[in-house]
Every structure is written in structure tokens, then in C-alpha cells.
Symmetry: C2
Subunit: 366 residues, 2 copies
Amino acid sequence: MCKTLSGTPRDDGFRMPAEFEDHDGCWMIWPERADNWRWGAKPAQQAFADVAAAIAASEPVNMAVSAEQFQNARQLLDSRVRVVEMSNNDAWMRDCGPTFVVDGDGGMRGVDWKFNAWGGLEGGLYFPWDKDDQVARKVIEIEGCDRYRAPIVLEGGSIHVDGEGTLLVTAQCLLNKNRNPELSQGEIEDVLKAYLNVQTVIWLPKGVYNDETDGHVDNLCCFVRPGEVLLSWTDDESDPQYAISSEAQRVLTQAVDARGRKLKIHKIHQPGPIFISDEESRGVDAVDGTLSRLPGDRLAGSYVNFYIARDRIVFPLLDARYDDQARETLGALFPEREVVGVDAREILLGGGNIHCITQQVPAHRG
Amino acid sequence: MCKTLSGTPRDDGFRMPAEFEDHDGCWMIWPERADNWRWGAKPAQQAFADVAAAIAASEPVNMAVSAEQFQNARQLLDSRVRVVEMSNNDAWMRDCGPTFVVDGDGGMRGVDWKFNAWGGLEGGLYFPWDKDDQVARKVIEIEGCDRYRAPIVLEGGSIHVDGEGTLLVTAQCLLNKNRNPELSQGEIEDVLKAYLNVQTVIWLPKGVYNDETDGHVDNLCCFVRPGEVLLSWTDDESDPQYAISSEAQRVLTQAVDARGRKLKIHKIHQPGPIFISDEESRGVDAVDGTLSRLPGDRLAGSYVNFYIARDRIVFPLLDARYDDQARETLGALFPEREVVGVDAREILLGGGNIHCITQQVPAHRG
């Protein structure tokens, strides 16, 4: 029931389903680092609680919480949220959590990637990261399924699949020398194909401008259904994001997916640009070894960083000038789902957004 | 789904089922205190792993483990055991864990008693006990059910029910001034009746001789089915246990259960007497504020301290002179269940036995 398996998901007939396929639930981690989240993480905790409540209206939510924060989290969270003690280094379940894979018979297993806090000793965001590296395994245990320990460093936010054999990644992240410097691009592709059971990998060059994850794809571009992607965009040619999004568009235009389809590309205009204010910067503990949060730093805001729950889209509210437009775009792309916005500036201040702090559990039996 | 309810189980139509009713699983806690378990708890860990494996052959087992011991426990435990991070002060799930109650419709809820480490600042066995007091709540969350916070200090090992309205306790424990000194016997009975949904409380005078729990009933006497109890016994009239067991027998002989039945009393001869050896004592860290483990101390050994799993009895092997006789007695009392013995001296050295380290999850739906 809770074995670590040799072999790979592909060997065993398991694949990573797309996020828009049916779910059994969602996992998150409760934020508390005062050197990353301002004001002792209290505003971020409220934002995480809001995200959890929005998702819990659609599917079961599990919140992993340190022993120290257990009682506080339990009191702040919607009673539908299940609170589970789990030690952690920070709150990014997408990145340190498991990637669940399923077979055609209701079976589910978890892939536990190596985690090095987005770059280890060469540009990683904090030290140590030992607790976060154990998060995937602990989630897999609680889900009661068997586990693969994948042989590469990878975060869940750096991959997006269409569920039909196609994977979207960025070269900036996956080929960064602070992840798997000993492996070639081809070798990394081979591991991805074996552990996600995909046949085609689409390599976008770079992620969102100034994204401290080294350009996770989940902040830039995602599948909304097989054959269709959504790309964070700006019309401002003077914005450094313009070149990044244009280059991604060029690659996507030329790409052919695993089923031989050309991709339909949808765009969603980015918020901002958004910058850290003086007050926001002052609220963060200044500690050597974690990323500084300086006034005027540009934040990697993007509406693509949403979560697809069973019957709703939970997306970040980031900029009053663009929020409604984003809601409209998402509503048109996901007509069967309710689109719910959550105030998410506090999450963005910590370095990511709603997709980064969630990890879906695909529908399965037993 | 994970709410704390006002009201009581009785108000809501829930009752504590007997241990011999059907189970969905079992919870345990991994031992690690070097000031209670000799040799850095390594021999005890093996004994707990043996108990977990014996139960896992019959029903799902969950092992709550501190973050520090997570990897070690995962490696030592049977792969059928689910390992769950949970901070703790020691390893007695029976006593700090929840008491589950069920209704007639497949519903289950958890009762979370106050826990003070068997006596708080007046004879309690360690300080602090804050983590153990949170164990019940955390188990209830993971089981995904609602919770009652009971208004009294109580350990699960100090109660045994027949599932048909009768409760067995000892006055030595429940009326001890280090538990609920502000309450009368009648007031304690009222709380027990409301939270366990029983109608009749049978008060045995004392628990097993030298039992550091202040005489938990689960080391002395239990129900084997409605109307029948099993009593730890000795034929040696010079043993201080003789008077204790005889007095219990006298009370049981006169008792009438909630259904108006007289009780059938079965006896099982105690092991030993068993004493801590010099070597065993030397293996324990000497620390102020925890119970000393001195050479020659008499241990409260009893064969009544077994666990009733779905289709097996898991009982402690404690004394080659009496183990076979105990196995035979249990086999005759539980003809539908396989009787499995596990070497349990290491558990006894820590202050309890197999029943003390387990807590059943009754069968339920959803």
C-alpha cells in the first residue's frame, strides 16, 4: 500500500492526468516563514485560507501544517478543510508535493521528485530544504498509495501536461545548471517521458520575467484542454515580458502535440507590472540566505497561475485594471466551470500564486 | 467535515462500539523517548513494528511518527502500514488518541478527551504533554470526521465498553485526585454516560499492582463479548495482585450490566511477577521529571492487555511459563479469531502493553 517502487510509471501503465481531468481533492501547505511572508505571515495565511475555502466548495482540501501552526490554522480554515500536521520549509505544495499518476483501472501512485528549493546552493531560495523534500512522500503515504522516487530534481510548477501525451516546460528552468547539471536535455526528456508517460515535450525558452523559480511554466502558460494553451501576455512592447511571451508564442505556433495537433493559442493579459511597496518590504524579516524582498522589486504576476478545481477555476485577483478581463477570458475558456477570484497579492509577494500553492489529487478508486 | 461540535455523542445518537465489533483500522504512535524506552528506543521500535505488522495482516494500521523518526519508521515498518507525521510526547495511542463513536447510519465522530500524562503535575509521567494532548484531534482530522472535545481528563485505557450500554472503569484511576479533582463520582459518571452513550458504569476498585497509570482497567479486565469479561488473575495469595483481582471479582460477581445481565467472569493467569533487570534499567536515560526505571521494579504485566483486530487477537508474550496458557484461554474466548502472540517485554518495560499502544477505528462509511 505504501511501497517505494522500482521501475517507472510508464513501465507500469500509469500517466499524469491533466489538471482539468476529474479530481478527488487538493493539497496545500500553510505559510509561516516570517523571512518570506510579511507581518509574520498573517496576511498570507488569510489569503491561503481564502484559496482553500474557494477550492473546498468544489473538492476536498487537505492543508499540511507544522505542529506550531496547527491550532491557528485549524481555527482560520473552513471546516471542510482537513488539517494534517506536516513539517515543512515553506508553503509551495505544487513544487515540493507529489505528482500523482493514474492507470486506466482506478489506480493511483505518487511521483516524488528530488527537491532543492529551486536551485540548491546555486540560487536556491532557502536553506535547508530537507523538510520540503519529504513532503511528497508524506502526502503519498496519507493518500495510501505506492511511490516512485524520481531520479531528478524537479518542481511540479515546472511541468504542465495535456493528459494526452504532451508536456510543456521551459528550458530556463529545466536546463538550469542548478537543477540537474549532469544531465543533457535529451536525458532530462527521457526521465520526463518515463515518469509522466508523455511522448512529446514542448520546450518554451523562458518563464515570466523576474520569476524567482527560474521560469516555471505554470506562471506563463498552461493547457486549458488538449490542443489549446493559455499564454500570459502583454501588449506593451517596452515591457521585458513582451519578448518572453512573443518567443513562447513563436514556439507554440510551430509546435505539434503528441496527437499530431497544432496548438490553438489563447492569450491573457498580465496584471501590472506589480512592484513591492516600501511597506510590504519592511514587513519581511531580513535573513541571510533567503531571497530579499526589496522595495521596488518587480513581482512575477500572472493570471495563468490559477487552479482548476472539479467545477471551478480559482484565479488570482492582482490588478483592478485587468482582473475583470482575466475573469472573462477564463470564463470563456472554461464554460462548464464557475470562475472565482481570490485576492492574491499576498501570495504573489511570497513568490508565486494560486497554482504554486496547490496540488491536485486525480480521481481514482481505492 | 472537521468541525468541533457542541453537544454530546448521546445527544446526537452516537455511541462507543466495543472493540470486538468490526473495525476499519487501527492507530499507533512510534516510540522514541530515550528516557522511557531503553537503548534509544530501538528494541521498543522493533516490538511496535512487530505489533503493527501483526495487526496490519488483519486491518489497516496507521503509525503516527515524529518528523525526526519518519524515515526510520518508514523503513522498519511493514509496507502495509501507513506512516503519518505527528509530533508526540510518547507512544500511547490508546491513552492520548481519540475514542471513536458511531451512529446507526455509518457515521463516525471522535471524542477528544483532555490528556494530562496520567496525572499532570501530581504524579504524571512526564512534562510537558502538550503534543500528546493534540494527538486525538489530529487523528480525528485525518479520519475526516467531526469532533467532540470532552470536558474531563481521561485516557482511553481507563475505559472498556461492551457496546451495549455498559462501561468498565477503576475507581483508583477515574477518581484519582490527579485527574478531575473538582468532580464527584456522580458527575464523572454523567460525563461518561453522555460521551460514550452508556447507561451502566461498573466501578472496579483498583487496577493491576504497581501500574503507573493509576490502575487503568485495560490492564486488568475487559469485555470479550456482551455479558462476559476477562480478568487478570493470580493463584498466589501472597502476591499483592491476589487481593486486587479478588476484589474485582467480587464486584463483577455482584454487577448487573445495562441489559440486566449478570456477568460471566473468565480468568487469565498473569505472567511473572516480572521485574526490571539491572541491564534493562541501565539502558534508560536518567532524566528528572520522568518515571525512573530502577532495577528490581515490578512491572505491571498482564495478558488482558491485548488488541482485538478484525479477525485476530494480538496478545503480548511476556513469560514462557504462562504464554501458552494465555494463548489457549484467548483462543477459547475468541473462536472466530486467530490468536497471535508478539514478544512484548520491551513494551512492558516502557509502562504498558499492546492494548495501550493501539486505538481502533470502528467500521463506518464516509
